[in-house]
Subunit: 266 residues, 2 copies
């Protein structure tokens, strides 16, 4: 998503050129290209698919909407398996229109996971609940903190349901380091994502994630937290940023790799 | 601030006409009008000044900036006392330019409170740390949760330092009800403010607070939480909203009073 202006073949080629060993894919471009074709493209290039983004949106109250969401998430599990990634990231969903019941919405996510967790396990895929920044709580994701995500995940085996740790969503939370330790002790950190926090936020606040180093997040601290919690998996850079999307995709990918080395690995 | 388009005399007259018994004032219009004159205006109308907004911005590292902030907050305490309100709301401040150290910024707030708390007590004024929504953590207020605000406040006597409970900033947080109980048990709820959460957020996210009833917040639940915690003080409506500001101020005040009755008191 960081360089969504690149086609899948261009993305794969650019990753290979830069020595980027893995890539997180999004469902929409994968489905447009064809799931099997995308899997072959990435596999032939020697790249790992780190995660598939995204399933989720499990908070509807309407039975037909709920059934459609479950079915769509089952397809997402199948796509993840076909791509050879072991992790499907879940953005849980916001409040249904007219609802003011955050607790009820969170419980409906748990209900859906009771169905999806075993299905994912059958396909060798783990679900990774992603807490999103509280500014998305009403319209995108009622799971706002790592503690909330773990409270949900803990109802299921760790090889079925875990969490996504993303600096953009968690950086402000002084309880997050302890929750990362909790997640690590349970082997529930299923992916670790980085993006920087920059202001002012754009209207709608979705596409204002900062390039690494442009904002206020101390990435070394967060990398230390997840490493101390036992996480040894890939680190994904996930930037939603209109300015980056308007530039040459290969240049953005090169810059991002350089920033990653300077701010995350250093 | 909800009807900042009204002059102080028009605001006071409109409150009296509507039977609104108290009003929270902001420093800038009060200082423009004259602190003593504003105090007389409000007192003669029989209105209570619920709080003065706002002091704070206590996170600077530069010694001269810090000294200026302390001096300004002392003036704010004096203004609050002159207005006859017992509560000065504090917006703590964001990260200094170039800083990525949230913990350090929060500690500098504590250092400043050690100076300002006793000064406020001498003037019969209590300081109310306001946790702001985490989307403001970098540029406006590094205190993002009620737990963080209470961790700071607890270092001082309750009659010096307490907290502001504002639904807009806390509604997403499932730990907030327990923190309200904690605050109430310590007599640290120094004011209770309401605004609704609406989306999409505008650019910059500051002026998108929703009119009561337009958003997703269940006000009865929050009113119940603060009442159960022993709070019996005023409930303030604080809306920052460009659309409301562009309308006739008296109409907006009337609408707000009606919404308050329908959604908060009901």
């Amino acid at each position: 998503m960081t360089v969504r202006q690149l086609s899948l073949p261009d993305l794969v080629a650019a990753c290979v050129d830069l020595g980027v060993p893995g890539v997180g894919l999004w469902r929409e471009p994968v489905r447009s290209y064809g799931v099997e074709a995308a899997a072959e493209l990435v596999r032939d290039a020697g790249l790992t698919v780190t995660t598939l983004c995204r399933g989720g949106f499990l908070t509807a109250t309407d039975p037909r909407e709920r059934a459609a969401a479950i079915a769509d998430n089952r397809r997402a599990v199948e796509e993840a398996a076909a791509l050879g990634t072991r992790v499907l990231v879940l953005v849980s969903g916001g409040l249904p229109a007219g609802s003011k019941d955050l607790h009820g919405a969170r419980e409906r996510i748990a209900d859906a996971l009771a169905d999806l967790g075993p299905y994912a396990e059958q396909h060798g895929v783990r679900l990774a609940i992603e807490p999103l920044h509280p500014m998305f709580a009403s319209d995108r994701c009622v799971v706002s903190t790592l503690a909330q995500a773990l409270d949900l995940a803990e109802r299921f085996p760790a090889h079925q349901v875990g969490v996504t740790v993303d600096t953009y969503h968690l950086w402000w939370d002084d309880t997050a380091p302890a929750q990362i330790a909790r997640a690590g002790a349970q082997h529930r950190i299923h992916t670790f994502q980085v993006a920087d926090w920059t202001t002012p936020l754009p209207a709608g606040v979705l596409n204002g994630r900062g390039q690494l180093g442009d904002g206020v997040i101390d990435f070394r601290t967060w990398t230390h937290h997840v490493a101390s919690a036992g996480y040894t998996g890939p680190i994904e850079v996930e930037l939603f940023n209109e300015t980056l999307w308007s530039r040459n995709g290969r240049e953005v990918l090169r810059e991002t790799a350089e920033r990653f080395v300077a701010h995350v690995l250093a």
